[in-house]
């Protein structure tokens, strides 16, 4: 079952087309990355899903119950909007309590949930502060906290890490990873390395259309490819091909990159690695780095070039 489905969704801002028939399927329990250049339609897709923007046409299905309606979806979905400011005069604690009450949390559960989310984002000591007194990073953490209030089934996070220092970004990554399987989380980000670490699925969006959507393993071929970064030299391709006849072997012309692609069981990688390293070291070729599959960035650039 999918937590979020967009079918042929079109969105115009005046004459500008932001979404040009976007299709997306986000399975329940997944951490799903939305990848795309500036203006590709990621923010629009999230806002349309949360009911903040009206789609020009197309179908939206949230948690299997149609487009957003307060009666059906309040408390079950949440959004971290990009470039939105929380009410500056409100106090952290009171604001979260207000949001919790709005989404229908009972008083006991509300206090517990507020305590939890403030703890996650390290804002317990600022719970009585006015929002206007928080630093930019703290405000960002507060916006992340509100998105997890009351344990919604679907959480849409638009650029959650922007403005966070490295330590807090790492904390938030750990929080998100701990939510895997418990909530469906959609993350839009330009940091593809981060998405690769966090997500189990991703979609590439360009010009308001889906370019590709798959699991991270499939996109990066993690289970069926291994790449070696080498010191310059002559890669012994014939010897490798002889030792690993059921694989495809590619070497770069400057002799610094070797890629082995294979089919079948992903656990084959251990056997392949042992053989390749033995041959390379025997040939006197220095190995700098070994990587399973390619990376999300390369695949995104290749898919959208």
């Amino acid at each position: 079952m999918n937590a979020l489905e967009l079918h042929d969704v079109v969105k115009y801002y005046g004459r500008h087309q932001a979404l040009a028939g976007l299709d997306l399927q986000v399975p329940v329990g997944s951490i799903f990355g939305l990848v795309g250049s500036n203006g590709a339609g990621k923010t629009t897709a999230m806002a349309v899903s949360a009911g903040l923007l009206q789609a020009t046409s197309g179908k939206i299905n949230l948690l299997g119950q149609g487009p957003f309606t307060p009666a059906t979806h309040t408390g079950r979905i949440s959004l971290l909007p990009q470039d939105s400011r929380m009410p500056l005069h409100s106090h952290v604690d009171e604001l979260l309590m207000f949001y919790g009450r709005l989404q229908g949390l009972a008083e006991g559960a509300l206090q517990e949930s507020v305590d939890n989310v403030l703890d996650w984002v390290h804002l317990q000591d600022r719970r009585n502060s006015a929002v206007r007194t928080l630093s930019h990073g703290m405000m960002r953490r507060l916006t992340i906290a509100q998105a997890f209030l009351g344990h919604p089934e679907l959480v849409l996070l638009d650029e959650p890490m922007s403005g966070l220092d490295p330590r807090e970004a790492s904390r938030v990554r750990h929080i998100l990873l701990r939510r895997r399987g418990m909530q469906t989380i959609v993350i839009s980000s330009h940091n593809l390395h981060e998405l690769e670490t966090l997500c189990d699925r991703a979609a590439f969006i360009e010009h308001g259309k889906l370019v590709r959507q798959d699991t991270i393993d499939s996109i990066t071929r993690r289970g069926h490819s291994v790449t070696y970064k080498l010191l310059p030299g002559n890669i012994p391709i014939p010897a490798l091909q002889k030792a690993l006849p059921d694989t495809t072997i590619e070497g770069s012309t400057d002799g610094t990159i070797l890629t082995i692609k294979f089919q079948g069981d992903p656990d084959e990688i251990t056997r392949i690695n042992a053989k390749v390293l033995e041959i390379l070291l025997h040939s006197g070729i220095g190995v700098i780095e070994i990587r399973r599959g390619s990376d999300l960035e390369s695949e995104y650039l290749a898919a959208t070039s």
């Binding site: 009911g51 909007p81 939105s84 929380m86 009410p87 709005l102 229908g104 916006t143």
Partner: protein, 303 residues
């Protein structure tokens, strides 16, 4: 389980609390209180001047405190006849003459200035939340209708408190400075006028909240609301002169009079429920109608 009624109350109480925290409500209360105190002091000073002139003309000893001559004048049958002629309606004149002079002044003050202050404080509220984006944190947790209605109720509560405070301020000044001041009678009458002024203000609150829903800039929303207020004032002045049930043109102006708040103001000055209740119902309906016009756009707009 989401409950639109509970959601509306939550938004309203947050709006009220947020206004207090942001000092918006404090400024509003101070404006109302200062306006009524200063207005009342000016009224008493002018009254004293007039009384002194009257006493001088009649060759009597001047009174130490204002209000004594007015109280006598208020009771004189000659003066009452003059008021009947001025108002053009014996029934209204008789009802007004039963009201203490200071309460009458307070009613005039609040009916004249409350709409201005309402527009000033309420018009930017929704637009500024759209502008800052803070609305986006709330509208996947409740409906747009409940959110707007909550904002409206929160503002209405603030205005009610402000009008009560201004009535208290005016009463206190009268109590200290006026001779022949009937404290209990004035308090009850001023309280009733504060409630009536609140109901009259609700129509303007609906107007300001309705306009605020069209815009993403608080300044533009405030400016447009003031323009609307001026247009309503002009229409009110024209329609009160041209309304006539015997001509087609007059009927149109009669209809215009029904659709703007000032067309119902005179009925709020009365004390009999036969006039007051329909005016209250009409003003409340106008308030909701103005707000719904804005909401018909807000409910579909991109945020």
């Amino acid at each position: 389980m989401w409950n639109p009624f509970r959601s509306t109350i939550n938004v309203a109480s947050h709006e009220l609390a947020d206004s207090i925290r942001s000092r918006r409500a404090i400024v509003l209360l101070i404006l109302y209180l200062a306006g009524s105190i200063v207005g009342t002091l000016i009224f008493i000073k002018v009254l004293h001047e007039v009384e002194t002139q009257v006493v001088k003309a009649m060759g009597l000893d001047p009174a130490k405190n204002p209000g004594g001559v007015t109280a006598t004048l208020w009771e004189s049958s000659h003066f009452r006849e003059i008021v009947v002629h001025l108002s053009g309606d014996r029934e209204i004149a008789e009802q007004l003459l039963r009201v203490p002079p200071l309460a009458l002044f307070y009613a005039w003050l609040s009916f004249a200035f409350a709409p201005l202050l309402v527009v000033l404080t309420a018009a930017p509220r929704i637009a500024e939340e759209v502008w800052s984006g803070s609305v986006r944190f709330a509208l996947f947790r409740t409906s747009r209708g409940a959110w707007c209605m909550g904002k409206y109720i929160g503002q209405a509560c603030q205005i009610f408190l402000a009008l009560l405070l201004s009535a208290a301020g005016a009463w206190l000044v009268g109590f200290i400075r006026m001779e022949h001041f009937a404290p209990a009678d004035s308090m009850i009458t001023m309280f009733l006028f504060a409630v009536k002024a609140w109901i009259y203000s609700l129509a303007f609150l609906g107007l300001a909240t309705g306009i605020s829903q069209f815009f993403s800039s608080p300044n533009i929303a405030t400016a447009i609301s003031f323009v609307a207020l001026m247009i309503m004032g002009i229409l009110g002045a024209i329609s009160s002169h041209l309304a006539n049930p015997n001509t087609i043109c007059g009927k149109i102006w009669d209809l215009v009079n029904l659709l703007i708040p000032s067309g119902h103001k005179i009925d709020l000055w009365r004390t009999d429920p036969d006039h007051v209740i329909p005016a209250v119902v009409f003003l409340f309906a106008l308030s909701i109608a103005y707000m719904l016009i804005g909401h018909s756009y807000f409910s579909r707009r991109d945020l």
